[in-house]
């Protein structure tokens, strides 16, 4: 056990003999926001519910602040949980919803009132006290739910897809706001989401789950730049995965990698061992740009433009290499013109836009 505030140790959980969690171990340090990322069915919500005490793990232990808590009933854990559909109490007003946890803790009435006003101000809903929760918009309900779970000063706040029920535009706007509020309060938080952008934006630390196991964890940027499994790479939106044929010469900060595209220089830290074959070369979508002088320099890939769609800040293009491999990139619209469909294209791939992924971790 490390010095984490929350430590989840080898948790297993099955429903109807269907394993959902298969040996989960990770820690959360004081004040950190940890994003639990995974596709639906990866077990992230179940993991959250186990930590909240709403489900009993079949095996394993959960430690909090040095105490084992997995037999403590949910109401005695002092955690907060924000549900995806908010689960606001429909028969109570906004203020009564926010005050609920405080009443459970036996706060005196005037302090409850003060705290409720404080929390509503924090989430930008001043004066909403006596509103009916059913009359609120989705975004407002989300804020009330956040205020309600933060009000009793939980030792750990869990958020289960808190923005999942909102439309894209509202989601983007609230994302930074939620992170701002969590950081302002300084609460230790576990944030469950299936959206990698959300996980990147909100988490100090990212835990990637797949089929009930942790696939990878680390700082969001590092996890994105250095996926450790093909699943992780694909989940982060990397479509260009090329079978590595062999490694070529190794330099201080890179390695020459042979794939169907020919040799490419890939940035690789000297202290890191090369993954053993079979392995994949992952080319991130932002790793390439149109080569102005294709005849000079390395890492140029030639092909035919077969798809090209304008997306505002970038063009989403598909280029067919003569080996038959399709490559998909997002190339910036500033700078060189984007060749038309059917034209031949020369792309230059940045060495640090690629990563080697072992077939089996």
């Amino acid at each position: 056990m490390d010095n984490s505030l929350l430590f989840v140790e080898n948790i297993y959980k099955s429903f109807d003999n269907q394993p959902v969690l298969r040996g989960i171990t990770f820690g959360v340090s004081q004040g950190a926001i940890v994003a639990l990322l995974g596709p639906s069915g990866s077990g992230k919500s179940t993991l959250l519910r186990c930590i909240a005490g709403l489900e009993q793990p079949d095996r394993g232990a959960i430690w909090f602040d040095g105490q084992r808590i997995d037999t403590v009933p949910p109401h005695a854990r002092g955690f907060g949980l924000m549900f995806q559909q908010y689960a606001l109490f429909p028969h109570r007003t906004v203020a009564e919803n926010v005050a609920f946890g405080l009443r459970m803790q036996g706060w005196p009435r005037d302090r409850i009132q003060q705290r409720v006003a404080e929390m509503l101000a924090l989430v930008g809903l001043e004066g909403y006290e006596s509103r009916d929760v059913l009359d609120l918009s989705g975004g407002e309900q989300q804020r009330v739910a956040l205020a309600r779970s933060l009000a009793p000063q939980p030792r750990l706040l869990m958020l289960d897809e808190p923005l999942g029920a909102l439309d894209r535009a509202l989601r983007d706007r609230l994302l930074d706001e939620v992170r701002g509020i969590l950081k302002h309060v300084g609460v230790t938080a576990l944030y469950v989401t299936h959206d990698q952008q959300e996980a990147f934006a909100v988490g100090d630390w990212l835990v990637l789950l797949h089929e009930g196991r942790i696939v990878q964890q680390g700082m969001p940027e590092m996890v994105y730049r250095r996926p450790e499994t093909p699943f992780a790479a694909q989940f982060f939106g990397i479509e260009n995965m090329l079978q590595v044929e062999r490694y070529g010469e190794r330099s201080r900060d890179g390695v020459l990698v042979e794939t169907a595209l020919g040799p490419l220089w890939v940035a690789w830290p000297a202290e890191m061992p090369m993954p053993t074959l079979p392995a994949w070369l992952a080319l991130r979508p932002e790793a390439a740009h149109i080569a102005e002088h294709p005849d000079t320099g390395a890492n140029v890939v030639q092909g035919i433009m077969v798809e090209r769609s304008f997306r505002g800040p970038f063009f989403h293009i598909r280029v067919r290499h003569r080996s038959g491999v399709d490559l998909v990139f997002d190339v910036t619209t500033t700078g060189t013109d984007i060749p038309p469909l059917g034209a031949s294209v020369a792309l230059r791939v940045r060495p640090d836009g690629m990563w080697l992924v072992p077939e089996v971790a």
Binding site: L54, Q56, G80, Q85, A87, H91, F100, S149
Partner: protein
């Protein structure tokens, strides 16, 4: 290694042990006694009851009459109810909620009250005959409908329009008009549109409503007993007559078995249909569909609506009027008479005692039904949530339906043959009546509470738990406030059902504890204007109590919970 707290497990089993014990004692045991009396009267099997049944052509006539009058009632009710449902569902009509309230008031009226009201309207000395006699200058009644099939059918339709309007209308109101508009754009004429789009979509609702109307008419007791006179008898009435008049218990038991089989089959089909109805179509907000009523059609529509209204209001209005107007003068003589006990009276007690009895029984019924009903609803809701409890639900769900599918007279008959000897000798206990009534009423309580209980998002309880609420606190803070309105509605339902219940009461009520419907029935059986007047007065009182209960229900009804 699932750790379930011991208390929780006991609590959960407790939930269904209580209603189960109650059903075993007061439902299955009496039903078993009926089976025994019919097939094993001397402890061994005998076909006497069945042979005796088959050998009497008279009984075949009873069965045939029961079936065809129920079919005729259903057909007539649909003929009046469907157009009414359509108008109320699709048009913006002022006073719509009043119309719907009146229909439902009619539906919840006790059978004895409605039967008495129809005698006051259509009987030999009823309002219609009074008017016709003075118009035509005749001294003999012109058309006497009481004692004919027409009075029975009219009363059945009077009751059941509400069933059709509520069940079919509520679906019709929310059908997606865009589907119909799509069909119209594709070239469907109004008639084809109705036949190919609307009707198929409404069919499950029409089926369910028809079955319910059929069931109510099939098991009709008070209406047929009072309005049909000696000439007509349904299975239900025949069970009563064989028991009370001829004391032929094996035959009554055989009839009860037949009645149980028939009603149960109808109930099963109804439940199936209802489940199909709950498969959600794309439903729309009602306000978006309503159109204003205008043009030539408006006259037809208003004519129909007013006729239906008059039909629903006239009998009850005449009942109230006739109870206070004698030969053109306003008098409360009949009401005063209820509080006297003349020596020649047919009762041992003042009729007004029956009012007190009825209210006490109704309170007792309310408490029992609410207790059993709430436990049952929780047992059903919890077993649905937990997959390993699914078998409880599979077992328990139909068990709760059974009493609903059992006619009141059958129930009363089972009581008097089962609960009259040790170990359960309740023959002389006044508790017998509320227990019988609660068997009729508690399924309604379950049906009112269960949908609300199921509608509580389980996340609400979990949210409360993570905010620090203990299980008991969760129940008090989340379940209680949400369920209490439904429970209140269920309670008033139980109260009203008990006040008006006649079928079971007619068999189990002791002379020393008469209820209001029993007293009304006895008054109707006595000659003389004074007795009839007292029947009118007592019926009017019962009508007012029932209507008041209904208004209470409407006030507390939470969204659209609990259809019949």
């Amino acid at each position: 290694m699932k750790q379930e707290r011991w208390g929780e497990r006991v609590g959960r089993h407790f939930l269904w042990v209580i209603p189960l014990t109650y059903l075993l004692l007061f439902y299955f045991y009496p039903m078993w006694a009926i089976l025994q009396t019919s097939l094993f009267p001397e402890g061994h099997f005998t076909s006497e009851g069945i042979v005796g049944f088959i050998a009497r052509p008279y009984l075949w006539k009873v069965v045939w009459f029961t079936v065809w009058q129920a079919l005729a009632s259903t057909g007539l009710t649909l003929a009046v109810g469907l157009p009414t449902a359509y108008l109320l569902a699709r048009y913006r009509i002022p006073g719509k909620s009043l119309v719907q309230a009146l229909l439902t008031v009619a539906f919840v009226m006790p059978t004895v009250v409605v039967a008495t009201a129809f005698t006051a309207l259509l009987g030999p000395s009823g309002l219609v005959n009074d008017l016709l006699m003075s118009l035509l200058g005749r001294s003999e009644p012109v058309v006497v409908l009481t004692g004919t099939i027409w009075a029975i059918l009219l009363a059945h339709v009077f009751y059941n329009i509400a069933v059709v309007v509520r069940i079919v209308g509520s679906l019709w109101r929310h059908l997606d008009v865009q589907v119909e508009q799509a069909a119209a754009v594709l070239g469907a004429s109004p008639w084809r549109l109705f036949r190919e789009i609307t009707l198929p979509l409404l069919l499950p609702a029409i089926g369910a409503a028809s079955l319910l109307v059929f069931l109510f008419s099939f098991t009709s007791f008070g209406i047929v007993l009072i309005l049909g006179g000696a000439r007509y008898s349904t299975i239900e009435v025949e069970i009563y007559r064989q028991t009370i008049s001829f004391f032929n218990l094996p035959l009554a038991a055989t009839l009860s078995l037949l009645q149980m089989a028939c009603t149960f089959i109808v109930m099963v089909v109804y439940t199936r249909l209802q489940q199909r109805m709950s498969v959600p179509l794309q439903l729309r907000r009602a306000a978006a569909i309503e159109r204003p009523l205008g043009g030539r059609r408006a006259w037809v529509a208003w004519g129909l609506l007013l006729a239906v209204l008059a039909y629903e209001v006239a009998p009850l209005g005449v009942l109230a009027l006739r109870s206070v107007i004698v030969e053109g003068n306003l008098t409360f003589e009949f009401y005063r008479a209820l509080d006297t006990n003349p020596t020649r009276s047919v009762f041992h007690v003042k009729p007004s005692i029956a009012v007190r009895n009825s209210i006490l029984f109704a309170f007792a019924t309310m408490v029992i039904s609410l207790t059993i009903g709430t436990f049952s609803a929780y047992a059903l809701a919890l077993s649905a949530e937990q997959r390993h409890m699914a078998w409880v639900r599979r077992l328990f769900d139909p068990l709760i339906l059974l009493p609903l599918g059992t006619s009141a007279v059958t129930l009363g008959f089972g009581f008097i043959i089962a609960l009259d000897e040790p170990p359960l000798d309740l023959r002389t206990s006044p508790l017998l009546i509320p227990i019988a009534h609660s068997l009729v009423a508690f399924p309604f309580v379950v049906r009112t509470i269960l949908p609300v209980l199921r509608s509580i998002d389980p996340h609400l309880r979990e949210a409360a738990a993570t905010l620090g609420a203990s299980p008991w606190r969760i129940w008090r803070e989340i379940d209680m406030p949400i369920v209490s309105r439904a429970a209140l509605v269920g309670a008033v339902f139980a109260f009203a059902i008990s006040m008006g219940e006649f079928g079971a009461t007619a068999l189990v009520a002791r002379p020393e504890y008469p209820t209001m419907p029993v007293v009304i029935y006895r008054f109707l059986g006595q000659p003389g204007q004074r007795n009839y007047g007292q029947a009118l007065a007592m019926s009017t009182l019962l009508m007012l109590v029932t209507a008041a209960g209904f208004l209470l229900i409407e006030r507390f009804r939470y969204r659209d919970i609990g259809e019949f």
